[in-house]
Subunit: 190 residues, 6 copies
């Protein structure tokens, strides 16, 4: 089912974690790149805050090309599209920030994303990863979906204490401070 982790066969596809009234859920962020003039379009029934995360992700990458070995001319001759299935479900909030920046970085570098990983965290323009809510529900959803490793903000480490050990079994956690740490770890060598 599309509620399960689906492998990492394509660059640009990254697994995130959402938290809704119905509980935690995994979600996929998909990016494509085409000829253009630097435009960014978005689909997937996204709210304003989530759209801002996507803009932020693109701006971050524009000013960190060196770090990722991205030829900065790509920002003048490409467009990007980010889609978050499923279209019928409204989505919002800043917590897909690291998922989006990873998705765009993956499609720009053509580097696939490390297997069996999900991530959740707000990003800032200078590259910090901020904590987000719903950690417990997100962990349960990740486990159900077959995820093996979860990336979160260092500031979410405190939320782990309230989660029973049995739920954490079989999951690795990686707590990060910056987008750089995320990209360095999850983007695979070509």
């Amino acid at each position: 089912s599309h509620g399960s982790y689906q492998g990492n066969e394509f660059p640009g596809v990254v697994t995130g974690l959402a938290w809704t009234a119905q509980g935690g859920e995994i979600l996929f962020v998909e990016s494509s790149q085409s000829k253009g003039k630097g435009g960014l379009t978005l689909t997937g029934n996204l709210g304003e805050v989530m759209k801002e995360s996507a803009m932020l992700a693109l701006e971050y990458l524009k000013s960190h090309t060196d770090e990722l070995n991205i030829d900065s001319s790509v920002f003048e001759n490409s467009n990007w599209h980010i889609h978050v299935p499923e279209g019928a479900i409204p989505k919002d909030g800043p917590s897909a920030g690291i998922t989006m920046v990873t998705s765009l970085a993956s499609i720009m570098t053509k580097r696939k994303v490390r297997k069996s990983i999900a991530m959740t965290g707000e990003i800032t323009l200078r590259g910090r990863v901020l904590p987000v809510g719903g950690i417990k529900e997100k962990i349960l959803a990740a486990k159900r979906a077959g995820i093996k490793e979860i990336i979160m903000s260092e500031e979410n480490q405190k939320d782990m204490e309230e989660i029973k050990e049995v739920y954490l079994k079989g999951l690795k956690f990686r707590f990060v401070k910056t987008i750089s740490e995320v990209l360095e770890y999850v983007l695979l060598k070509k």
Copy 2:
């Protein structure tokens, strides 16, 4: 009546299946291509989610030109228009995704669509076909309209169980995982 299947004499015309409060219904997705700069315009009283499906369909094709033997310069010197009759009826939801991507692929390749087929399914940017609702009502509508074969997501196969065999008589079903499978099957050789 325009509630019946109408043949496949034009590229760009594809039969979909809608599900409304009044039950299932067939619908037609029509595309035209003209000189332009890559623009996409939409008519037919479409809601936001359905408009996003059309954007998604175009983005998918932009990044899968090789597979369909589409000259990618077409995205720089053409515009597309997608219309879904009838104009007085508001339409929404993601389930026309495969109908739209098939319609655009058909008009771009000038390949007509296989006869007597209807389809329903959400699409994603990486090319998956997701399950949709209202399968029973859609099947009844397709049959009434003279459809012989229906294409759906593999994940909708489970919905078949709750439909009495008598309703399925005379209909073939094709369950798919990807947009590629759809296009390969329904787009006829020129």
Copy 3:
């Protein structure tokens, strides 16, 4: 009075039939063409669905230039404006579709429209003429206004049965399947 048929002295002026809470009414669709880049502007207090009909009419003509002997460069160096008097009255619905496509085709070809004709019908992108509502009221209004011939969708023929013969006296009816049939009949030779 402006509630009467007004002759066909100008290309671009076509008589349609509207159906409102107050009953049937004739309306005029007027088009003008000027230098431009393919733009379409609309006035006359038109609702979204009626605006979509105008877009659709223009798209149809873009992809049927051969049939009408229209030089397709016109779509790159002209703008069109469609106005539907009277400005104080909100208008909506798809039924002016054939009136709009006839008006644009008339102004593009500089061919005037056959005399004493009114028309009503939704159009589709592939060129079909779909049935519309309010046929009885529209026929009464046409007769009052001095119209001699009415063009409608073949699928509206069934609505004629419920109209008393006395109302039909002096009126000819032309039932059509396609926009082509309409344009071939009503656009006069130059």
Copy 4:
């Protein structure tokens, strides 16, 4: 007071007649022309229908340049601005149509407008002048403001019967069918 007729010393300034809940009133339509690319901007707290009248006025002039000896290149290298004082008062409706087309024609031709005239009437794209409401109140307002002659649609002639003769004393009336008649009469030779 700005409630009085103010002479015709500038091209582009034309006196209209409005009808509000407070009764009739004169209004001024002012146009200016500057270098540009054919744009039209509007101020004066105008509603959608009144904005459409201004668009219509410009479109009419675009397709009637011969009649007015307007060099049609003006539509490619000029912008126009129409203002209707006073900014605090919302204004709407189609009845300023002839005032607007006269104002634009005056500024384009640099021909001033005949003295002591006010006008009211809706316009159509093909150049007809349609009747409008509030004739009695508008006539009273024109008289109070020192107007000597009023231009209206021929179809408003019937509204004159219900007005007592004493109110009409000292006023001339000119009933017109077309914009051409208006412009020919009111635009003075340079």
Copy 5:
């Protein structure tokens, strides 16, 4: 305090008078000019009518360059920004018209504004200055703020009668008919 007159050391800064539910108040209109293509941007929590005053001010100057010795190429290679502090307070109405046109004329000509003056009045496209409301409250506010001279429409002279002489002490008044009179008086020689 920013509630006091603040001198005239910068071109583009002009003192206006506002009238709110809290009484009269002085306000500042500030303009800046930069390289551009004739654009006008506005900040300061301005309502639609006040934004229209700014557009009107710019249009007036475009068609009166001779009078002010403005090189008209400035309208093709400059942008303007008008700000009205304070950002937290919504502002609307047409009465800042003369303040805005003076501010823009000052920044375009680099001529500073005569000292200790405030002004209030609506403007029209042909250059008239129309009367505005709240004269009494505005005069009190001007006096409190240290203003020495107030410019208003000639048609506001009648509002002076209802103001006790004691409030007018130390204030000069200049009643004007046109924008020309305002600019000629308040813009200082370079």
Copy 6:
């Protein structure tokens, strides 16, 4: 925690002070610069007034390039993005004005911002710093976050009297009249 002062290692990052229903809070304004045509984009769930502050900050810098030794061609070949974390929290009001102008000036000049400073104040186009509300709450928040020095409008000095001395211990205050004073003090030499 991101509720603490975070050092000044990047140009473009500046610490501001916000005042919400929950009390005072520090916030970060982050700017990035990329190739472009002078555009400004904003994220962080900002209200209209706060967006206007950002526009104002950019306009101020455009007309004060000399003072900051900014090559004015930067306004023709760069875009800027300003983000204010955290995305889930709506933010509004003019008090981040000096934080924004400092952030943009820092990124344009590549000069970092003096350490351990926070600031709050509205700005005007001519460069004044206006007083803002919530001073007491902002001071407490700054102290909690480890700030050592606070910059405010001279007109906020009066608000200091109502704050107990114990809260002010360990904090320096700098009261300013103009943006120039702020930038001269806080932007470090390269």
